[in-house]
């Protein structure tokens, strides 16, 4: 065997050729959507300008709107980790992007569906279509905060396209609600917005993250459900893993701490995190946190979904009592980006809702967390005394 015959061009491994969408193993669902629109079956809501086009897994381009977005909030984020949602809104406000924070929105209800199966395809598509129609009525474009909502809506979109009987049933329901059947041209996750905004976020960065090592956990329902819609970039992991989250972490100058169980889920389990948490806790700590600690020893875990932040963060307390090798704070890419741009760790990022100790991380970011907490406590006193009813956006940036 000669040296020549065994030579593997390293460039081919480091940077494989761009995928050709002509060779994509899956259909482009958007083409079917437009055909159905031409046939009068549904309305396709177009991505408003300005938008940025980015490459998805098989080389197709996806439009990510920059503003005029209708924020489809997440149950778990708003309920238990509200600094997540607050940071997404704060980022939009910092860039002067117009957006809607609607009350005419329900949960996608997919957490419950994947947990209990107490629903069905018609109901799930009905809930999705009602939310899409509510967004369409405002002229703003759906921006999905939750990874599960994003994945489930992509599944639902495919079902609506391929099953005429389902479409008929859902259209009947929508007629009872006096709403049209609308499907967005692209299903867009907020982390895709952060991904396309990452260089602008870095331009506005006020804190130095060069000493921070972050391990990334990609959300299963972002890139494993209807895989072809997730963003991939040849310059990030050679295009072999989804680029969202990692792109931001690199853009703000932090080091990505890689680890061998990157592709594992967090252990959320949908029903498990609520009624069978021993599984979630074991998986989150033994397969994710401890592996990260051993292999990368990061300062923080950054992820982009409700369940992942919850499971990875909350699971660490109980196992710490067993002297396990844990203790890494967890937050979303939105919170990380907001901190990079100078957001207040409590007024905006609301880290007091998180469980794992984050104070060493804040110190490494140059944040005096004790002074910041004292400021937040003074806000609380103003609310308690009746001086102000709520903390305003202006207060948050004071």
């Amino acid at each position: 065997m000669t040296t020549e015959s065994t030579f593997i061009p390293l460039d081919a491994i480091r940077k494989p050729p761009l995928p050709n969408p002509e060779n994509a193993p899956t259909e482009d669902i958007r083409e079917h959507l437009f055909e159905l629109e031409d046939a009068g079956e549904l309305i396709v809501q177009r991505v408003p300008e300005p938008y940025i086009e980015v490459m998805t897994k098989y080389g197709r381009m996806k439009k990510i709107p920059l503003e005029k977005t209708w924020h489809h909030k997440s149950c778990g984020q708003c309920g238990h980790i509200p600094g997540y949602s607050t940071s997404i809104f704060w980022l939009n406000r910092q860039f002067g992007m117009s957006y809607e924070d609607p009350t005419d929105q329900t949960s996608c209800t997919a957490w419950n569906y994947y947990a209990s199966a107490t629903s069905n395809a018609v109901a799930q598509a009905g809930v999705a279509s009602r939310n899409f129609a509510a967004a369409y009525a405002t002229g703003y474009y759906p921006m999905i905060h939750c990874g599960t909502s994003y994945g489930h809506y992509k599944e639902t979109r495919a079902e609506l396209v391929h099953h005429p009987e389902l479409r008929r049933k859902v259209r009947d329901i929508m007629e009872k609600l006096d709403k049209p059947l609308v499907v967005p041209e692209e299903i867009v996750h907020y982390s895709e917005w952060i991904h396309v905004m990452r260089d602008k976020i870095a331009e506005r960065q006020t804190r130095d993250f060069s000493s921070i090592t972050a391990s990334i956990h990609p959300a299963c329902h972002y890139y494993k459900l209807v895989t072809e819609d997730a963003i991939y970039d040849p310059d990030i992991y050679g295009g072999q893993r989804t680029a969202t989250v990692t792109g931001l972490v690199e853009a703000v100058g932090a080091t990505v701490g890689d680890y061998s169980t990157f592709f594992d889920c967090c252990g959320f389990g949908f029903r498990h995190i609520l009624v069978q948490r021993d599984f979630s806790r074991s998986f989150a700590t033994q397969r994710k946190i401890e592996i990260m600690k051993e292999e990368a020893n990061p300062d923080v875990v950054i992820t982009h979904d409700t369940g992942c932040v919850t499971t990875l963060d909350k699971s660490q307390f109980a196992v710490k009592a067993h002297q396990r090798n844990v203790g890494i704070p967890v937050m979303s890419d939105a919170q990380f980006a907001a901190l990079a741009m100078g957001a207040h760790p409590y007024r905006v990022v609301q880290l007091h809702w998180h469980a794992t100790d984050y104070t060493a991380l804040l110190e490494k970011m140059g944040i005096d967390w004790e002074a910041a907490w004292a400021e937040f406590e003074s806000d609380l006193k103003r609310i308690e005394s009746g001086e102000i009813e709520y903390l305003s956006w202006e207060d948050a940036d004071a």
Binding site: E159, F270, F317, H352
Partner: protein, 244 residues
């Protein structure tokens, strides 16, 4: 979306022989009928194309690492239409799945996780005792999502519900109303729902539940819960002028 007649009634009764896993034994025809209902779902053909037995789904599966559970067995039983094994899985294995869809990595393009969604759905629709058992303690979540439109509310953060999440849960619970008012987005000043949902939106959600057979499923799974949810929905809809 089944077009099949429901396989009723089950012949099992409290005195019937229990299988080793404590689920009631039923005639083969009943098991077959359940399986036919799974197959009749429009989504079924997209979830099963055969099985190489390569085990990639098992390697990717979080539940397989901690339970006696295998997504490969789910796909194989379905591909072979092993009705006895499928019935056993409907009563046990399916509730161990994490629904993360890591198994979608299948080179044959199967979705064992998707199959499990269908198997669970049929289990609930027919009120299998094991489905009821799996959903024990989960009723409050179903109630919350169906009646308020958001699943996770801030007031669920109670120390007795989440003792393993540490002492901060109590701190959050003790300060809940104050901390919620210290959130800049106006829609988040809520404690009983994740965000503020308008009454008109809620009415539309109730109409979706009523027109999509979900209430029938809830009735099979938990009659008491069904009555409570229906009461809330009927009161709201009647107040808004709807005839229920």
């Amino acid at each position: 979306m089944s077009t099949m007649a429901p396989p009723m009634p089950f012949t099992a009764d409290p005195g019937a022989t229990l299988a080793p896993n404590s689920y009631p034994e039923v005639p083969y025809e009943d098991k077959l009928s359940l399986w036919e209902e799974v197959k009749a779902d429009d989504r079924f053909p997209d979830y099963l194309y055969g099985c190489y037995e390569c085990g990639i789904c098992v390697a990717a599966c979080p539940s397989a690492k901690y339970y006696d559970f295998s997504p490969r067995k789910i796909a194989q039983a379905a591909a072979r239409e092993d009705v006895e094994l499928i019935y056993e899985q409907m009563n046990d294995d399916v509730w161990n799945c994490s629904q993360c869809f890591s198994c979608n990595r299948c080179p044959r393009e199967n979705s064992p996780g998707g199959l499990i969604t269908l198997l669970r759905e049929v289990s609930v629709r027919h009120g299998l005792a094991t489905a009821k058992e799996a959903l024990e303690g989960y009723g409050r979540v179903v109630y919350k999502i169906m009646t308020t439109g958001t699943q996770i509310s801030p007031d669920m953060l109670q120390p007795d519900a989440f003792p393993d999440w540490g002492p901060d849960v109590k701190k959050t619970s003790d300060n809940l109303d104050l901390w919620r008012r210290a959130l800049p987005p106006e829609t988040l000043h809520t404690t009983e729902t994740s965000w503020q949902v308008s009454q008109e939106t809620l009415i539309e959600l109730y109409l979706i539940w009523l027109h999509s057979d979900v209430m029938d499923m809830i009735e099979e799974a938990d009659e008491g819960l069904h009555m409570i949810i229906l009461d809330v929905m009927e009161e709201t809809l009647e107040d808004a002028g709807y005839e229920v």
